[in-house]
Symmetry: C2
Subunit: 318 residues, 2 copies
């Protein structure tokens, strides 16, 4: 998003008649657009379906001073409106069909390799909904290979929620026929997409990277996120989908401890406090038996009782 906003700022400086950057979004895209636009001093406009977005999801673009238009319509209606505004009102479209978004996301691949001191990982796992990010990831690696910065490519795994798995189904059929599906509700709400915009690009990328596609059920994604949290992380449910895919690839021996493996984490876990709280309380409808649930131990204000409990816990787990 910073690449897109920076480019727009340059275009405005060059005299282009751009009056605002805009997107239709129910979450992270609007937050990112509003923040970068605020930092750049460019006006941001966010168009979203009224009543479908919680105030908590709204608060980031509002705090960053974006103009937020809440429309009596669904996400598709918002998308049509923002496209029309882009054509007719001098508003610059910031949704991911804008190729500057993909250009910017290429840096994910570059940062990965740089942080390994220019070594290429063996595997990269990435959650997939609209499938723009896997194309960008692939484009970044291909660019580095063409430039001679790297000599090999990683294998890529796209991880989808089972509730919204059209790419997984196509992969199982050898990509011959892709069919959109009706996405069912999933805890991984940002990838609840049945007809991904960038599916063709994603398939081409997977074919170049010896790619695989995996899926995760609600219980699998929630348990995988919670298991990884126990190492000190704080994962969002989308990252949980990719972590569950990792577990599956490890279980069937495709990834071993000789493989340097990267899991792309896509959102801040603090945006998903309810998901985590309900997981540990055991109240998530689709995760009736959370495998890593942790609950507080309730105790009276009495040192003897507390000491005995502490001793018992320390002995138990030692």
């Amino acid at each position: 998003m910073t690449v897109l906003v920076s480019t727009v700022k340059q275009m405005i400086a060059d005299g282009k008649p751009i009056r605002a950057v805009a997107c239709a979004s129910t979450g992270d895209t609007s937050a990112a657009l509003a923040a970068y636009a605020a930092a750049a001093g460019v006006r941001a406009m966010v168009i979203l379906p009224r009543g479908k977005v919680s105030t908590a999801q709204l608060v980031q673009p509002l705090a960053n001073g974006a103009t937020v238009l809440a429309i009596d319509g669904d996400f598709d209606a918002c998308m049509r409106i923002v496209q029309q505004l882009a054509e007719q009102e001098g508003v610059y479209l910031a949704n991911s069909m804008n190729s500057l978004r993909i250009e910017g996301q290429k840096t994910v691949a570059i940062e990965m390799v740089q942080q390994f001191d220019w070594a290429v990982p063996d595997w990269v796992l990435i959650p997939g909904g609209n499938l723009g990010n896997v194309s960008a990831l692939g484009a970044g690696f291909l660019m580095m290979k063409e430039l001679g910065v790297i000599q090999k490519l990683p294998r890529i795994c796209v991880a989808q929620a089972q509730a919204a798995n059209p790419l997984y189904l196509a992969y199982k059929e050898g990509y011959d026929k892709f069919h959109a599906v009706t996405a069912k509700p999933t805890l991984a709400s940002a990838i609840q997409i049945g007809n991904p915009v960038s599916v063709r690009k994603a398939i081409r990328t997977l074919q170049k990277f010896e790619g695989v596609v995996e899926q995760a059920s609600e219980a699998e994604l929630a348990d995988a996120a919670a298991r990884a949290d126990k190492t000190g992380l704080f994962n969002c449910p989308h990252t949980g989908v990719a972590l569950a895919a990792l577990e599956k690839l490890v279980a069937r021996g495709e990834i071993t401890n000789r493989h340097r493996t990267v899991v792309v984490s896509t959102a801040n876990g603090l945006k998903f406090t309810d998901f985590k709280t309900q997981y540990h309380e055991g109240t998530l409808a689709d995760v009736p038996k959370p495998r890593h649930a942790n609950q507080p131990v309730l105790l009276p204000n009495e040192y003897g009782a507390i000491r005995d409990t502490v001793r018992r816990i320390l002995d138990q787990k030692a």
Copy 2:
């Protein structure tokens, strides 16, 4: 916290009989302890007052696998219990009275100077509750000066919530007499402390750094946080206290645009979604007239009406 946990890990490796690290905490300390301990493979224990901590605040230590003991008592009772456990049960105390916490926090000063390519800022503003952090900040700068890494010291401003301002009151009296106060509720909940543990150290630090103390009302801290958000940030209320102090120092000419100034931000704004939402809705009891409130514009799903509104907004603010 990472310095403390790393030291404990080394002590365990050296054969010290430490069975767990523990703290009494209602928020960030427990989250940090649990995360670093999980990463280090050291058992963490968090002791907190039952019913005084929201599940959202609880979820980080729970997710990171800490043992969470919820006691029928107040924070002071929890503090006494964790101290007793530390003396008698092989549990290592991680609260900020442990000097390893202060040693670790010194790096805040080092990072600041490093990120300015080893130039010393003119001013550092930091929110203050229990006042350990300002002592650590000062100790870091003094260490660098003794080592010859830097040649001068910044001035320091401690910013307190008006609702919990014992250091501010003492500063106004020339520090001659410090009196604890009863802290009143404040949006800056983590610095709602009337009798700061580290007040003596903090006063010594301020005296060495030509220090000042400022305070911020609830409206001032909320407006300052919201104003800074409009530049693309996403501030917590404690950072808002320091930003409000900055505005006051600028208003009376102590800080000008010739001064390189750093404001220490102390928590992730995503932990304070309710504060931000209520600010923009205008429903915070102590902030009846939020100066930077931003609300969504509700519109029908009708292109003509939306276009007219967009034109009006673009013309208005241009």
